[in-house]
C-alpha cells in the first residue's frame, strides 16, 4: 500500500493525477480483478448488464473521476468501469469498526477505528498468491472546492474503504453477514455502492449532511449487497445498516458503538457467524471497560486485540488457512472539534499487531499536512509487505 496525492479543478483532473501515478497498479488490479471474476465463473454478458446498471446509478462526479483515471493510466474507460463493478460485486471485506464520542472518550471528541479484514476466498487471490493481490493506496485528494480527503482505496476504484475530510467528517464501512449474503460470485449480488457512497459522503461538511445524502441515494438505487456505513464528526456518530430491502440509522451523540459484520438494529437479518459475534462482544467489552478514557492509544490496543483467538475471531485477524480472512490494515480517525483541519488519521499497513507496534509500520496524517512529510517507504508500498504477517505478534516470540 502506498500514499498518493492529487489535486485539480475537477474530478476528472483528480482522476487524471491518480491515473498517471498509479498506472501500473491499476493495470495490475484490473488484470487481477478480471482473473478473479473469471475464476468465480462470472459471465461476461452478466457483467456487461451489471456495468450498464452500475453506470446509471453513479453520479456525474464519479464518472468524471473514472474518465480521468482512464486518461491518466491509459486504460480504457470501459475497463475502469468494469473493474469498479467487479470490485463492488466480488469484494467481501469483513472488518471490525468502533466509534466513541462525548463522555465515551477522554477528550469528549469523536474517534473512529476500522480494522480492515480481507478474505482470500478467491481461487486466484488466496493469501499465497501475492502476485494477484490487489494494490491498495492511501490517496490524499485536494478537491476543486478546497476540501481535502484522505482515504484508503484500491487503485483503479473510485470508491474508498475509509477516509476523513477537511471538515472533520470521517467514514468507514463493513460488510454485512446477513442470511442473504453469499460470498460466491455465482450467488453474488450487485449493488454494493458503499465505497462510492463513502466518497460522496466526504464531499459534505457535516456527518448529518453526509447521512442525508446517502439516505437519498439509498432510496434512488437498489443495493443488493448488505453492509454497514459509518459517518462521524465531532458531535455525532451515525451507523447505517443496509440490506436489499431495508436500511436503518443509529445516531449516537454520547457513548460508543461497535459493529463487526453483524447488524445490531436489523438483528433479525443476521446470519449465524461465530467470528462476527466474538468480535462484536469483545469490542463492546473493551469499549465498556475503557468508557471515558478512549483515545487513540486505546484504539490502537483494541485494533491489536487477540482475545477469542487464535484465528478469525480475533479483532486483529490472522489465519493460516489459505482461504481465511485476515486483517490487513487499520485506520484510526481522530476528529478535532476545535479545528477540523487538525483532525488526524493514523493508518497501520499490514497486520495491526505488528504494524502499530513499529514506527515503521504506521503513519499519522493531519488533514492539512503536506506530502513532503511522508516517508518514502510509504510512497513505494514496501511497508505493507513488511508488516503483513501470518502469525500474531505474541506468537512470534518477539
Amino acid at each position: 500500500m502506498k500514499v498518493v496525492y492529487s489535486e485539480g479543478n475537477s474530478q476528472e483532473d483528480l482522476g487524471f493525477g491518480l491515473g498517471c501515478q498509479l498506472a501500473e497498479a491499476i493495470k495490475h488490479n484490473i488484470d487481477s480483478g478480471m482473473k478473479d471474476a473469471e475464476s468465480r465463473g462470472v459471465d461476461q454478458r452478466q457483467l456487461k448488464q451489471y456495468a450498464d446498471q452500475y453506470m446509471n446509478v453513479l453520479n456525474a462526479g464519479t464518472l468524471d473521476l473514472m474518465e480521468g483515471l482512464s486518461q491518466g493510466s491509459r486504460v480504457p474507460f470501459s475497463s475502469i468501469l468494469y473493474f469498479n463493478v467487479i470490485q463492488d460485486w466480488l469484494c467481501t471485506d469483513g472488518c471490525t469498526t468502533f466509534a466513541a464520542i462525548g463522555k465515551g472518550t477522554a477528550s469528549g471528541g469523536a474517534l473512529l477505528l476500522k480494522n480492515r479484514d480481507v478474505p482470500a476466498n478467491s481461487p486466484v487471490r488466496g493469501r499465497y498468491h501475492y502476485e494477484n493481490r490487489q494494490i491498495n493506496v492511501v490517496q490524499v485528494l485536494k478537491n476543486p472546492d478546497g476540501n481535502i480527503t484522505v482515504g484508503v482505496a484500491t487503485a483503479g476504484s473510485t470508491g474508498i474503504v475509509m477516509g476523513l475530510n477537511t471538515y472533520g467528517v470521517a467514514t468507514a464501512s463493513n460488510q454485512g453477514r446477513t442470511k442473504e449474503f453469499k460470498p460466491e460470485a455465482q450467488n453474488g449480488r450487485v449493488g454494493n455502492y458503499r465505497g462510492q457512497l463513502m466518497r460522496e459522503g466526504l464531499e459534505h461538511h457535516t456527518a448529518k449532511d453526509a447521512v442525508k445524502h446517502v439516505l437519498n441515494r439509498l432510496i434512488q438505487i437498489k443495493t443488493e449487497n448488505p453492509g454497514i456505513l459509518w459517518f462521524v464528526d465531532d458531535k455525532n456518530i451515525y451507523v447505517i445498516e443496509v440490506a436489499p430491502q431495508e436500511f436503518s440509522v443509529q445516531h449516537v451523540t454520547d457513548g460508543f458503538t461497535v459493529r463487526a459484520n453483524h447488524f445490531i438494529l436489523l438483528d433479525q437479518l443476521n446470519d449465524e457467524n461465530i467470528s462476527c459475534v466474538c468480535r462484536y462482544f469483545r469490542g463492546r467489552q473493551m469499549l465498556e471497560e475503557n468508557y471515558g478514557n478512549i483515545d487513540r492509544g486505546k484504539m490502537v490496543e483494541f485494533s491489536m486485540d487477540h482475545t477469542n483467538g487464535p484465528g478469525e475471531s480475533y479483532i486483529c485477524k490472522h489465519s493460516r488457512d489459505e482461504r481465511g480472512s485476515v486483517t490487513e490494515s487499520a485506520a484510526i480517525m481522530e476528529v478535532n472539534s476545535q479545528d477540523p483541519k487538525k483532525s488526524r488519521i493514523s493508518i497501520a499497513l499490514g497486520s495491526p499487531c505488528w504494524a502499530w507496534r513499529s514506527r515503521a509500520g504506521n503513519i499519522t496524517f493531519q488533514i492539512d499536512d503536506g506530502m513532503e512529510n511522508i516517508p518514502k517507504r510509504f510512497l513505494d508500498g514496501s511497508v505493507y509487505k513488511e508488516f503483513i504477517k501470518e502469525e500474531p505478534w505474541e506468537e512470534a516470540g518477539t
Binding site: K208, V211, K212, L215, N216, L218, I219, Q220, Y238, E241, Q245, E246, F247, S248, V249, Q250, H251, V252, L265, L266, D267, Q268
Partner: protein
Amino acid sequence: MKVIAAEGTHEKIGFDLGCRLAEAIKHNVALREHDTRERGIEKKQLSSLVHRYMESSSAVSLKMMEGLSRGSGVPFTSILRFNALQDVISPEGCTNFAAVGKATPDGDAILLKNRDLSGNKTFSGSTYYNYREINITLVLKTPDKNVMVGVTAAGSTGFMMGLNKYGVAVASNFGQTIEVSHVPPGQLYGMSGRTQMMREALECSSLKDAVNLALGKLTDSPMGTPGILWFVDARNIYVVEGSFDQFAVMHIQDGIAVRSNHFLLLDQLNNEKALSSVCRKIRGNQLLEENYGNINKEKMMEFSMDHMNGPGSNSICRHAKNPEESVTVSASIMELNGKNPEKSKISIALGTPCWAWRNSAGNFTFQMDTDIETIPKNFRDGSVYKDFIKVEPFGGG
C-alpha cells in the same frame, strides 16, 4: 367527524378552515392545554419544545397556522403549541396493512389504516363525542393544483393519513416501544411530528421525494414519540420505524406489510407487555397471508372489521366500554392507480369500522379527480360519525 374542503394558498386554506372550525379548534386547543398541565410538563421545557418545533417547521406549515389563528381567533402561539404537542400528547394506536405486486389482484398497491384513539373523561362539550376529540376529513387544493385528502384534528396542520393527486398515500402509527415507559413524565424528545410529516409528504409529487423528505427530517431530529410512517404509491411500499436515536426503513415492491404499534425492523425496542399490538400484528399477518394475491378494497374492509382475539382491545376493529381505552374511530383504504394516479381512490369509514363499512351511509369513496361536492352532505356536517361510533361490536361480535 365531518368532511371539509378548502382551496388556495396555505395561509388562505388555514384562514378558511379557521373560520369554519373556530369552535372545534378552541375546544381542541383548550383540551390540549388541560392535558399538558395534567401531565406536569414544565413551562420552561414546553417553551423550549415549542421554540424548537417552530424552528423545524416548514414555512408553509407556519403559514397554515397563521391562517388558522386569524380565521379562528385563537392566538398563533396556542395553535403552534397545539401542533407541537400533537404526537406527544395524543399518540395514535392504529393498525395498518399494505399490499403490492403479486399480493393484489391488479398489482397496484393498497393501504388500509384503522385509526385507534383513546378518550378522556374530561372531554366534553359540543365538539366532543364519547369523550374523544372530534376530527375532520379534509380535502385541500393547493395552488400547484395538488389535491390532498386526509384525516386530521381541528387545529392541526398535519394529517394522520391521506392521499394526494399524484397517487402518494401516507399513514402513521404510534410505536409502543420499551423506551416510552422509560421516559420521565413530561419529558419530550424530537421535533419531527408525524402528522406534519404526513402533510408535507402529501405535498410531494413522487413517493421518493416524500420518503426522502421524511428521512431528512428524521436525520435532523427524531419523532416526538416513537412511531411508524407509511409511504405508498402504486408500485412501492415504504415503512419507516423511528425511535429516539434510531430509525429503519423497509421497502417492498412485491408483497405485504402489517404494523400495529409493534416494530418489526427494530424489534429489540418493543414493549413486550403491549399485548394488543402483538395480537393485532399476528392477526394482520394471518389475514394478509391467507388472502395473498386477492387483496383488494373489499378484503381490506373485511380486515378492518375483524374481531378475532376480541372483540375488544386486542382485535383489529377495537372496542372498549371504558372511554379512556383505545378504540377504532375510523378507517381509510387507499387504492393506488398505477396507470392514472389521479384516479386513485380513498374510502373513509367514519365511526366504528364494523358498523360504518357495512352501511353505505357510514362510508364514502372519493376519487382524486372528482369534485368535493360529490360527497354526501351528511358527511360534511359530522352527523355520520355520531351515527356509527359504537361501543358494542356489530351483531354483538
